[in-house]
């Protein structure tokens, strides 16, 4: 009765309740306390359109906003100080790769090197690389990959080191820093073949004085030749004067 009354009232005011917008479904509730079971089609749709997050991030896609400052541990700092000291004191630092030599071989090698006052040092590659990238020896950094060993010497005994390393085939010389100069393996071999400093200095001095000595010899050439000729003349004159004396003495002896 209320509906018909409403219907007549509304009809009079000119607004008809449309069946479409006023459609009310008299089915189960939309808001429930338990989870409402989804229609199978909706379930399928949800399953197909599920979000799959990307597994790996592309490098540089999301750069970290806070740059993590790595604090180096005490041991690393200590080792770095030691490395710095080594680089300051030693004239020659060679980098050698050892292909898993056993302890006996290592001992023999260390003994042989110790005879020539060469020391073998082991440092972790991380420490070496972090030290080298700050120092002036940054170009040595690519050498420190894998198991490497440092051979150091306060006097640059390169020849002895090479001859000792030739004895152990598994130690491969990669490069060396001699007198602040970075050398490759071939450079080290050339360096070992160089003559000593005194010999080189002598050669240099003789080369520089060559011109002046040639000038001096040219100037002295003529008087020297004259004096030589005169000496020869004197000696020739002296010889015929000496010959008649034995004849005179023979004559004197015959007379007496």
């Amino acid at each position: 009765m209320a509906a018909t009354l409403c219907g007549t009232l509304l009809a009079k005011s000119g607004w008809l309740p449309l069946t479409q917008c006023g459609r009310v479904r008299h089915m189960s509730k939309s808001v429930t306390r338990h989870k409402r079971p989804m229609h199978i089609i909706k379930q399928k749709l949800m399953a197909v359109t599920e979000y799959i997050p990307p597994k790996r991030l592309a490098a540089g896609a999301y750069p970290s906003q806070n740059k993590k400052v790595e604090v180096e541990s005490g041991l690393v700092l200590l080792l770095k100080k030691e490395v710095k000291k080594v680089f300051q004191d030693c004239k020659m630092i060679a980098v050698v790769q050892n292909n898993a030599s056993n302890s006996e071989d290592m001992l023999t090698l260390r003994h042989r090197l110790h005879k020539h006052s060469l020391t073998v040092k082991f440092f972790p590659n991380q420490v070496m690389r972090s030290f080298l990238k700050d120092s002036e020896f940054c170009n040595m950094a690519p050498l420190f990959i894998g198991s490497t060993v440092l051979i150091i010497s306060t006097q640059g005994k390169v020849k002895e080191m090479l001859s000792t390393l030739r004895g152990s085939p598994q130690m491969v010389l990669l490069g060396a820093c001699v007198d602040g100069t970075l050398l490759s393996a071939q450079g080290v071999q050339h360096y070992s073949k160089l003559p000593s400093v005194s010999v080189v200095q002598g050669e240099l001095v003789s080369g520089l004085t060559l011109l002046s000595s040639r000038t001096a010899s040219l100037l002295q050439h003529h008087p020297a030749r004259l004096s030589a000729l005169l000496q020869q003349y004197v000696s020739q004159q002296g010889a015929p004067a000496a010959e008649p004396r034995p004849q005179e003495s023979e004559g004197v002896a015959a007379q007496s």
Binding site: Q97, A100, L143, I145, G146, Q170, S184, Q186
Partner: protein, 106 residues
């Protein structure tokens, strides 16, 4: 440095391994790893006659591993774009194949 501990390197069918590299280049890591694996005590103990030689150059050339087998076959690996694992796998597969061939002949 990743070391494959699953299978050891057997050099029985290998006559000579020649490794050529420039240590100052940045593409040498895999070759050095390969050299480390092949030059280890265990590997050398499998065949005392096998020579593992290394030539260290400084001419920006690519790292090359040249393996000569006992039957004359050669395996040349250019390590610039390869990883150590790939090189080792290729080498080991060939070594094993040769080994099985030799055993089958016996």
């Amino acid at each position: 440095m990743a070391a494959s501990s699953k299978s050891s390197v057997v050099l029985k069918a290998v006559k000579q391994v020649m490794v050529q590299m420039c240590p100052f280049e940045s593409n040498v890591r895999s070759t050095r790893e390969f050299l480390f694996m092949v030059g280890s005590e265990k590997a050398r103990a499998t065949n005392m006659n096998c020579e593992v030689s290394t030539v260290v150059k400084h001419d920006k050339s690519e790292p090359v591993v040249d393996v000569t087998f006992t039957d004359g076959e050669r395996l040349v690996m250019k390590g610039a774009k390869l990883t150590g694992q790939e090189m080792l796998q290729a080498f080991q597969s060939r070594c094993l194949a040769k080994d099985t061939q030799a055993k089958a002949k016996k």
